[in-house]
């Protein structure tokens, strides 16, 4: 497997590094959080409308660039490293793949061009944000029921933790359809019977909302999933989202380590830079190894996922990447606090921003334990 970057991919990466270094990062996150909006509107517009990153995951026929999972992973890693607060993940890594892999032609035409153009913020309302989509993708739809009602449906249920749920213009809701099957429904925030409650989160880079559906009436066209594709499409979309999350976590880990290295290179204790203590050097070296290995796992899984050749094999490798990246991110952030010493647990210094993001992201879309269980079920069925 070739993991070289093409010159185009190098370009994307360098552009991302340049842009995100300038516009995102811990200080920008603090400003956005203090402004209360959850994210920086101008930054999001720049990403979606100027840089065109929202088009990456969208097929060309819907105005996208169809760059695939590998490019997305490269970008997501940089976003994680910059602690980017933005509806990018929910819109581009979660909602878009769901439409691409499970959507009807009509739904794709309706929504994908707007997403690609950076004009529509979308999200997916999973029954459990921490839940798993294997062995049966129906699990993610367990919390909402769709009752046929005339030509349309009535939706009832609760989505306790929806990423960017309070700002999204489109909420894709997987639901159990009474009488059989699952479907994905397009719901707009203005829908009658929909209650959206923004949640206060500890990780300020990741807004969540608690959404209730009480007899939300939708038309037939709101059923945006193709019945033939929905189960496999949901699973594949969530795998790709998990991969992007893993890539972000590699970035979070790298950002935490880089910040730590910079701090301990300067900070002097006992007449020596902290970085000169061998025990500290070895711990940083071990982190670097973990991060590189997790990065390798993400790149390999992304290449396989992008090839589309063997989604089941790719799914397992995504789980491997996710388990490794989750641990790497948490450990790097944990060490960031520890090696900063006293200032490491102050609000003023940055380690806690990485730490909270690492823990929060680690719980989304299956925790590390879940992903290891998934691997075990295939590699060593009992």
């Amino acid at each position: 497997m070739n993991l070289d970057l093409t010159s185009e991919q190098e370009m994307i990466r360098e552009a991302a590094v340049g842009f995100l270094t300038e516009r995102a990062g811990p200080a920008a996150l603090r400003r956005a959080a203090e402004a209360g909006s959850g994210y920086d509107r101008a930054l999001w517009d720049a990403i979606g409308r100027e840089l065109g990153w929202c088009a990456l995951a969208v097929p060309e026929e819907y105005g996208g660039m169809a760059m695939g999972a590998f490019d997305m992973a490269l970008l997501a890693e940089r976003m994680g490293q910059a602690l980017l607060a933005s509806p990018f993940f929910a819109t581009v890594c979660l909602a878009a793949p769901l439409l691409v892999h499970a959507g009807t032609a009509g739904a794709k035409e309706t929504y994908l061009p707007a997403i690609a153009a950076g004009e529509l913020e979308a999200t997916v309302g999973l029954s459990a944000l921490g839940g798993v989509w294997w062995p049966d993708a129906g699990a993610v739809a367990a919390g909402v029921t769709a009752r046929p009602d005339g030509a349309g449906f009535r939706l009832d249920g609760r989505l306790p933790h929806v990423p960017d749920g309070a700002t999204a213009g489109l909420i894709l809701v997987p639901a159990r359809i009474e009488g059989g099957g699952i479907g994905v429904f397009a719901v707009t925030p203005a829908a009658s019977g929909l209650t959206v409650r923004p949640l206060k989160t500890i990780d300020v880079s990741r807004p969540l909302a608690d959404i209730r559906l009480d007899g939300v009436a939708v038309g037939a066209e709101a059923l945006v999933s193709d019945p033939a594709l929905v189960a496999a499409g949901l699973a594949r979309a969530l795998d790709e989202a998990a991969l992007a999350l893993a890539a972000e976590q590699v970035g979070v880990a790298q950002g935490a380590l880089d910040g730590t290295l910079a701090y301990i290179a300067e900070r002097v204790q006992f007449g020596r830079a902290i970085a000169s203590f061998q025990a500290i050097k070895h711990r940083c070296a071990e982190l670097m190894v973990r991060i590189e290995v997790a990065r390798s796992a993400v790149m390999g899984a992304a290449r396989l996922a992008a090839s589309g050749e063997d989604p089941q094999a790719a799914a397992l490798e995504i789980s491997a990447a996710r388990a490794l990246a989750t641990d790497a991110a948490f450990l790097a952030a944990q060490e960031a606090i520890q090696l900063h010493g006293g200032v490491g647990f102050t609000w003023e210094y940055d380690p806690h921003l990485y730490f909270k993001r690492a823990q929060a992201s680690g719980a989304w879309l299956g925790g590390a334990d879940d992903h290891l269980d998934r691997i075990a079920a295939v590699v060593c069925p009992a």
């Binding site: 459990a128 989160t201 500890i202 002097v268 606090i337 380690p351 909270k356 989304w364 879940d370």
Partner: protein, 396 residues
């Protein structure tokens, strides 16, 4: 399940529990389980009243000799007290630094005047103390202190200029003891003096430090020509290091032993939430709970060994590693709590049980840093416990 009684001292324990049951109620009810690490800035005024309530019941300074207003209780009963206090949800003790640190220091090194002036208000819960050791440039390495004290030849007063940091609860305290460089040009452990200073005076400014959990129980304290009276030096000028180190030795973790009861409650709460939200079905979670339980039992017996060894001149091997062990155990418990909460670990719900676990997760990060970082602990264990070569100082 995880908490455990001993058959010893049952009568004394009943007495403590009974008193707490009677008094930690009514207007003090909101204090239950509050004010612990990470929550230290909760209800400061009410907790000061609570300290006075304790004093009236003669439950302050129970280990102090009777001549200084204590009960002179032996170590096992002190531990029993701390355990029952934790079991009942007794709030974090605002009087701890006075009772556990400066009080014993004054008994050992203080002048008669100092003892008469400062000990009674500590016993009575009327004056509260803060600790002024760490500085921005001298955290693990106290010998690098820069805050300086200069004697006014006319008045004999000390004028202190500099900055201290990590002074817990300085904003609600009355006094601070300060380790400052009193000999111009001195370096390292030489030329330091140990001074007692009122916190509320013109030359002192206190600024809160916000922690990662949002609380503000630590402070920076800025000194700009602040005054310590001539008679408020402990030990001789230049002997501050010896006094300061002795002080650190007085607190041999008796109140820390009581914290095991709190740990047990926290572990119980983790199990409770895991059962409610289904994560208890995950074998990896069950395994970590079992490991945590095993570690807590071992910690308890480790403490029992330490007590058996009390009075021995050298710190025994089991005592040397105790802080390292409990702090990492507790940090791991915090991570377990967050993993059990899952996505909910990130959401402020208003449910007090979940908030307690969130605070545990976040604030236990400090356990491996304050009171000597883990790195310093490991150096000490290796050098004193295993006789390995000392880490060389740099020349910078």
């Amino acid at each position: 399940m995880t908490a455990n009684d001993t058959t010893m001292d049952a009568g004394f324990r009943r007495e403590v529990a009974g008193w707490l049951n009677e008094h930690l109620t009514g207007r003090f009810e909101p204090l239950r389980f509050r004010g612990g690490p990470g929550d230290g800035d909760a209800f400061p005024d009410l907790r000061k009243e609570w300290e006075r309530e304790l004093a009236v019941g003669r439950w302050s300074c129970i280990g102090w000799p009777e001549e200084y207003g204590g009960r002179g209780l032996p170590v096992p009963l002190q531990i029993a007290f701390h355990e029952e206090y934790a079991r009942a949800g007794g709030p974090g003790r605002l009087g701890h630094i006075g009772e556990g640190l400066i009080g014993p220091t004054l008994m050992a090194f203080g002048t008669e005047r100092q003892k008469q002036r400062y000990l009674p208000p500590i016993v009575a819960g009327r004056e509260f103390w803060a600790q002024g050791y760490s500085e921005p440039g001298a955290g693990s390495d106290l010998a690098g202190l820069k805050t300086r004290a200069r004697r006014d030849p006319s008045t004999g007063q000390w004028r202190v200029t500099g900055q201290k940091v990590w002074t817990s609860l300085a904003h609600v305290s009355d006094w601070i003891f300060v380790l400052a460089r009193s000999e111009e040009g001195s370096v390292g452990r030489e030329g330091l003096s140990f001074l007692l200073m009122p916190l509320h005076q013109p030359g002192i400014e206190i600024r809160p430090i916000r922690q990662i959990n949002g609380g503000e129980e630590f402070n920076e304290v800025f000194f700009e020509g602040a005054v310590a009276e001539a008679e408020d030096i402990v030990g001789k000028p230049g002997d501050g290091w010896a006094v300061a180190m002795a002080l650190l030795g007085f607190e041999r973790g008796i109140s820390t032993l009581g914290q095991q009861m709190t740990f047990a409650h926290e572990l119980d709460l983790v199990v409770e939430i895991a059962r409610e939200n289904g994560s208890l079905r995950q074998p990896a979670i069950r395994r970590r709970i079992a490991q945590s339980w095993a570690g807590l039992r071992a910690m308890r017996y480790n403490a029992a060994r330490m007590l058996s060894g009390f009075g021995k001149a050298d710190l025994a091997r089991e005592a040397l590693g105790y802080k390292y062990y409990w702090s990492h155990w507790h940090r791991d418990l915090g991570k377990l709590a967050a993993d059990v909460l899952g996505v909910e670990a990130d959401v402020v719900t208003g449910d007090p049980r979940r908030e307690r676990l969130q605070q545990l997760f976040l604030f236990s990060r400090a356990d491996t840093i304050y009171g000597g970082t883990s790195e310093i602990q490991l150096n000490i264990i290796a050098e004193r416990g295993l006789g390995m070569p000392k880490e060389p100082r740099g020349k910078a």
